[in-house]
Point group: C2
Chain length 250, copies 2
DNA sequence: ATCGATTTGTCCGTATGTATT
DNA sequence: AAATACATACGGACAAATCGA
């Protein structure tokens, strides 16, 4: 299988061979592929060379390694969930409309001086108190996005109390504060997760993520700044720009 | 420097140390860091362990290795260009407004049967003829985004002729067809570049990219479907949702 | 619940190739 | 041409997670 004469690195040759197996469906989604030792015997390569090939494909998202279990063909995640962004957005409804099961978990909520990025986004003096809360949102039991949220204490004095008792963020704004926040500005960026993000999203640190920053306004007030981190292997975000004919496909 | 007792992998400890040096500007942008051999001597680690740390940071975009020369601190690209998306968008103007120099290059333009994704997006029968053209767009001389564009031949019969003679895509639509196309729908996804994309964008295949798909409409007609691939290390895309008070910061 | 087998993760060592200076 | 620096490939050893008997 491996040609040791042509000058192409063995690990790249092996990576191509593995990719072919996947593309031809000989090894299908979620299936366990031969262990490193097996492949090294089959191809007359050292285990480390096999590991190089496997690592190469893991970074690219084609394979997934699990310590103690083995290496698996990554699940193709094309259009796992197209998450529609709109000015007023509610995760729970959005996911339910797609026929999936949403799940939210507030990881913490604490009052702190506003860090630089948050104070800039909320146009506050740096160091003014904000509530900083982190939410992990799942779809069908899979971690989907992690968000760090910052809200001025001055505007929402008992937000922490409300959050602990309420089911959803939207509900708190709507029922308790009689506000209907809307998105003001969003930014999109591709990158890698930090260690803690990778752990909470249950992805390896080499999986790309989609970072979306948002500011929410209501009644002319900057209510909340959010830094969201979506799993790149699951999430497709979409925006519909106009409401008129023709309807957008998909 | 490296604590061999606490049970944290040496290469992760070293990666953190290197990151600290970078973040504290002790090692600054573009600067060459000590060679693998030097670091392995300094930290009493094997060269392979050092390589693991360096590779880890390369994948994450913090370092850049050049064979035969050394390893360098990657150029920080925070907010290199915030690219504002709006319903009607013109790359050239957009970049000029940010005080940068735009550059466009049409790589090819050919007539082909519509591939599946394009025919779905344009709501055509699969296989109907489309013009497929690829554009590489640079900012200040750096490759910024690569786009594959599909337009129905039926609607724009001599688009290929026009594109070869005109300066910009917008000009062709506006001047020749008297159309002012607008975005209909956009989707965002994080991922990795294909081999050819990585080459054209001059990034290594481990750098994440931001994929943005768009459909353009004018006068109720689906004019163009575009798959754009933005360099994840350079591009931040932004959207302003509302026009009223307060102004968005940044 | 324990133990052993399997599998991936980390770490060290050595040698040689290739690109740059 | 020589020295330097990263790339590839081989070897061995033990750790840590998982799974099934």
């Amino acid at each position: 299988m491996i040609n040791k004469e042509i000058g192409i690195p063995y690990y790249l040759q092996l990576a191509s061979l593995i990719e072919e197996k996947i593309n031809s469906r000989l090894w299908s989604e979620g299936e366990k592929i031969p262990s490193e030792i097996e492949m090294s015997r089959m191809c007359h390569l050292n285990r480390h060379t096999v590991r190089q090939a496997v690592d190469y494909l893991c970074v690219r998202g084609a394979l997934l390694k699990v310590k103690g279990r083995g290496t698996f063909v990554a699940k193709s995640t094309v259009d796992f969930l197209e998450y529609k962004l709109s000015p007023e957005n509610r995760f729970t409804d959005n996911v339910r409309q797609a026929g999936k099961r949403p799940d939210n978990r507030m990881l913490f909520c604490e009052q702190t001086p506003a860090p630089g990025h948050a104070s800039r986004a909320l146009m506050m003096a740096p160091g003014e108190p904000v509530f900083h809360f982190r939410i992990l949102r799942k779809v069908d039991g899979k971690p989907f996005l992690l968000s760090d949220n910052y809200s001025p204490v001055k505007l929402l004095p008992d937000l922490d109390q409300q959050l602990s008792s309420a089911a959803s963020l939207f509900e708190v704004y709507h029922k308790h504060y009689q506000m209907q926040p809307r998105r003001r500005k969003s930014t999109f960026k591709a990158g890698f997760p930090r260690e803690d993000e990778a752990r909470l999203l249950q992805i390896n640190p080499g999986t790309p993520v989609l970072r979306v920053d948002n500011t929410l306004v209501a009644s002319g007030l900057l209510l909340q700044y959010t830094q969201a981190c979506y799993r790149g292997d699951l999430a497709v975000l979409s925006i519909e720009w106009e409401e008129d004919y023709p309807p957008a496909p998909g």
